[in-house]
Amino acid sequence: MTFITFEFFLFFTLVLFLNWYLKKWPLAWRLFLLASSYYFYSFLDLKFLLIIFSVSIFNFLIGLSIPNKKTYLKKLILTLGIIVNLSVLGVFKYYDFFRVSVQSILSHVGLPASIPFLDIALPIGLSFYIFRVISYIMDIYRGKTVPASLLDFLIYVSFFPQLLSGPIARAGDFISQLKGGGTKGVENLPHSITLIMLGLFKKLIISSYLVLNLTDDFLAVSQGHSSLGILLAIFAYSMVIYFDFSGYSDMAVGFAGLMGFKSPINFNTPYLATNIQDFWRRWHISLSDWVRDYIYIPLGGNRVGKIRQYANLMITMLLVGLWHGPAAHYVVWGGIQGAGLVGTLFFQSKNKEPKKKNLFLGKILPGFLTFCFVTFSWVFFRSESIKDALLVFKNIFVSKELTEYISPYVLLFIALGIVVFLLEKQIVSFLTRSQAKLPLIFFFIFVILSMTVIFYAGPNIMPPFIYFSF
C-alpha cells in the first residue's frame, strides 16, 4: 500500500480522523499511532513486523543502558548496538553478496566450501529505520537526547508516513512532537496538500511517463539507439530519479503534516546546485545529514588535515554507494560523488576569495556543469553493472545514427519536468498562497479536481518507487 494508491487514501482518511479525534487522550492517541503504523507495515508482510519490533526493542534497551555509565562502558554498549544493527542490515541486504563472494574466493584458493543459501527478502524500509535507530542510540551516547519511553520510541521507528523511504527524522525532533498529544491544529493545510499534489504529479505523471516511454528502453538496451536519443534518455533519467524520490518525500512530508507532524525536508531543488557539495546539501538531505553526523564526523570530518578530510569524504561516499546495494556499480557511483566532493573542496581551497562573478559565470555555468556531472553519474546508478553503464556511454559514440524519432509527448514531459525543477519553490509557494486565499468551497473544488485529474492522467499499471529497493 503505497502513497499513490486509493486504498492508502482511504486508510489515511480514517487514520486522519482518528488521529485528530484521539488527541484529547494523549496515551490513546499514541497507541493509535503505533497501531496504525504497524497495521500499515503489516500489509507488506507480517514477518517484517516481527523484524521491526525486535529491532526497536533491542535499540530501546541499548538506549536505556547508555546513560549514567562510565565512558568505556557507554562506548562498549554503543558499539554493541551499532554492530547488531549493521549485522541485521548486513544479513538482509548483503548476505547473499558475501556468500557468493566468499564462496568464489575460497574456491579460487582451492578450498571449495558451500555456504548455506538463505532465501530472505529485504524488508522494505529496513535501511531507513536502521538509520533512525542508530541515530537514536548515538544521540543518547553524545548526550543530545535522552532515552524515550518505549511507546514513543516504537512510534518513532515505525511512523508510517516516514517508514518506507524516509525522510530519516531524528529521535529528538520527532519524539518532542508526541508530547501532550502533539499539535492541536493543522498548521498549514494548503502547504501539505500542495506537497501531496506535487508529489503525485511528479511520480504518476512525469516520472512514470518517462520511465515507460523513454528511459527503460533506451538505457536498458542502448544498442540500436541514436547518440542524441541515448543522451536524451540519460538526461530524462536524471528527472525520473529526482521526481520519483522527491515525489515520494513530498508526499511523506505532506501526509505527516496533515497529521500535525513536522518532517525534515529531503530535497531542496538539488539540480540548481552550483557544485557537488552544494548538490549533496540539497539532495536526499536527511541521508546526507545522517552520513555527515554519524560517519563523516566520527571519522574526523574536516578537523584532521586536508588529505584525511578528502579520504574521509571518499570513504563516506563509497559507503553511501554501498548502502544502495551490494554491487560494484553503486560503489563506482559513490566513488564518483566522492571524487566530485573532493574536487570541489580542492578547488575552493585554491580560490579562497573568489572574485565577484556575473550571473552566467557564477551560477548558470557551474550549475550546468554540476547538473551534467550528476546526470552522467546516474548512469552507473541505474545500470545493472559497470559493464552495462560503460556500454551506454560507448553507444553514444559508436551509434550509427545521430538522431531518431522521439515522441513529441516525451519532449513535452521533459519540458514540463524542466519547468518543475527550475521553478519548484515558486510553484509550491504560489499554490500554497493561492489555496490559502481561496474560499473554502473553491479550495475543495481545486484540490479534488487536481487530484482526480492527476490520477486520471497516471499510467495504466501501478508504478513502483525506485527507492523502495534500498
Binding site: 486509493f6 486504498e7 532465501d119 496538500i193 545493472e384
Partner: protein, 343 residues
C-alpha cells in the same frame, strides 16, 4: 453557486464547525482536512474506477486488506453506475470473484499434469532451407525491457549468421486489452514490413484480466465462463497473422504471488492447447525451467555447478539476466531442432 455553498455549509455543520467561514485564519481545521479527504476518495475513485480496477488486477493479490477490497468494490459500483447502459458485464462480479480467489491457500499446489509441457517440434512444419531466416521476437515487458528474455535472446541469436533479428515489445501490453495496445494490428504491420520466417512470442503477463474490445468495452471478465474461449481465439487470431512463419510461443513462468501464478498457469494451458492445433506453432514451457523441484516459485535457482543464483526480479514476475539466459538457451535448443543454426 449559492446552493453549493449551502450544501457545503450543511456538510460541514455535520462536523459541528461553525467558525470555519468566519475565521479565515483557522478555516483549515482538522475537521475540514478530514472532510476534504473523504471527498477526495469518494470523487477521485468514482472518476478513476476503471484505472483502479486495472491496478487491482495486477497488484490485488499482493495486498489483501479491507481497504483495498472497499476501494475495489466502490470502484466496481462506480463503473457499473457510469456505464450500466453500455456494459453487459458487471465489473463488480469480477471483483467479488477476485475476493473469493484471495482465499486460496498461500501456496497453490500444482500437480505434474498441470505443469505446462513443451510441445515437440512438428516435422511437417520444418522451414525451407534459406541463407537468412528473418526472426521476429515479439511480446510484452518480458520482451521489451532489458534484463528480461527479449534482450538476452536477441543478443544470443545475433551470433548466428543465418538469422536476421527484429525485436518488438510493448510494456503492459497483451491480447486482452487492445484498447491499450492492439497486438493484432501490430502483428499485421510487422508481418507486412518484415515478412518473418520465424516468430518468437512471449506475451500474457498482463492478460489475466477482463477482455475488452478496441474501444475498451469489457467483453468478458476474467472469471467469466467464456473468458478462456475468448482468449484462446485471440491467441489463434494472432497466430493466423503469421501463417507462413514458424512460431515459437514461450510460455510464462511460475510467479511469486500464488493467485497471480494460478492465473498464469491457466494462460499457459491455453497457449499449449492452441499450439496443439497449429502445425506451425511450438509451445515452449518455462514453468519447470524457472521453478523449484516441486513446480513452485523460487527466486533463486541453481546454475550448472549447483550454485544458487538470483533468477527473478524483486517483483516476482520478471527475470534477471540469469533467468533470461535459462529461457534463452531453451528457445535456441528448440529453434535448433527446426533449422540449422550457423555461427
Amino acid at each position: 453557486m449559492r446552493g453549493q455553498t449551502l450544501c457545503l455549509h450543511l456538510f460541514i455543520s455535520v462536523f459541528n464547525d461553525n467558525k470555519v467561514e468566519n475565521n479565515t485564519k483557522n478555516k483549515f481545521t482538522p475537521k475540514v482536512t478530514v472532510l476534504l479527504f473523504i471527498l477526495i476518495v469518494l470523487i477521485s475513485v468514482f472518476f478513476n474506477s476503471k484505472k483502479i480496477l486495472n491496478w487491482g488486477v495486477r497488484d490485488g493479490a499482493r495486498q489483501n486488506n479491507v481497504f483495498q477490497n472497499a476501494v475495489l468494490s466502490y470502484a466496481g459500483t462506480s463503473e457499473k453506475l457510469k456505464s450500466s447502459s453500455v456494459l453487459e458485464v458487471i465489473t463488480l462480479e469480477e471483483e467479488n470473484l477476485s475476493s473469493q480467489e484471495k482465499n486460496l491457500p498461500a501456496v497453490v499446489q500444482v500437480s505434474q499434469e498441470q505443469i505446462p509441457k513443451t510441445a515437440p517440434t512438428d516435422p511437417v512444419a520444418e522451414l525451407p532451407q534459406k541463407t537468412k531466416y528473418k526472426t521476429l521476437i515479439v511480446g510484452d515487458s518480458f520482451v521489451y525491457v532489458g534484463g528480461g528474455v527479449g534482450e538476452i535472446l536477441e543478443k544470443a541469436l545475433l551470433k548466428y549468421k543465418n538469422l536476421e533479428i527484429l525485436r518488438s515489445g510493448a510494456v503492459s501490453s497483451g491480447l486482452s486489452r487492445p484498447d491499450y495496445f492492439d497486438w493484432q494490428s501490430k502483428a499485421v504491420s510487422l508481418k507486412e514490413s518484415f515478412h518473418p520466417d520465424i516468430v518468437i512470442v512471449m506475451i500474457g503477463t498482463n492478460d489475466a484480466q477482463s477482455i475488452t474490445d478496441t474501444s475498451g468495452k469489457v467483453l468478458f471478465y476474467y472469471k467469466h465462463p467464456e473468458w478462456n474461449n475468448a482468449y484462446a481465439s485471440r491467441v489463434r487470431e494472432f497466430i493466423d497473422h503469421f501463417q507462413e512463419s514458424r512460431i515459437f510461443w514461450i510460455g510464462l513462468p511460475v510467479m511469486k504471488e500464488p493467485n497471480y501464478s494460478s492465473r498464469i498457469l491457466n494462460l499457459d494451458s491455453i497457449y499449449q492447447n492452441v499450439a496443439e492445433n497449429f502445425l506451425n506453432m511450438s509451445f515452449i514451457s518455462t514453468w519447470n525451467l524457472l521453478s523449484d523441484s516441486n513446480g513452485q516459485y523460487s527466486g533463486y535457482l541453481p546454475d550448472e555447478n549447483g550454485k544458487m543464483i538470483n533468477a527473478r526480479q524483486k517483483d516476482g514476475i520478471h527475470l534477471t539476466t540469469f533467468g533470461g539466459n535459462i529461457v534463452s538457451k531453451e528457445v535456441i535448443k528448440q529453434l535448433g531442432a527446426t533449422i540449422k543454426l550457423t555461427e
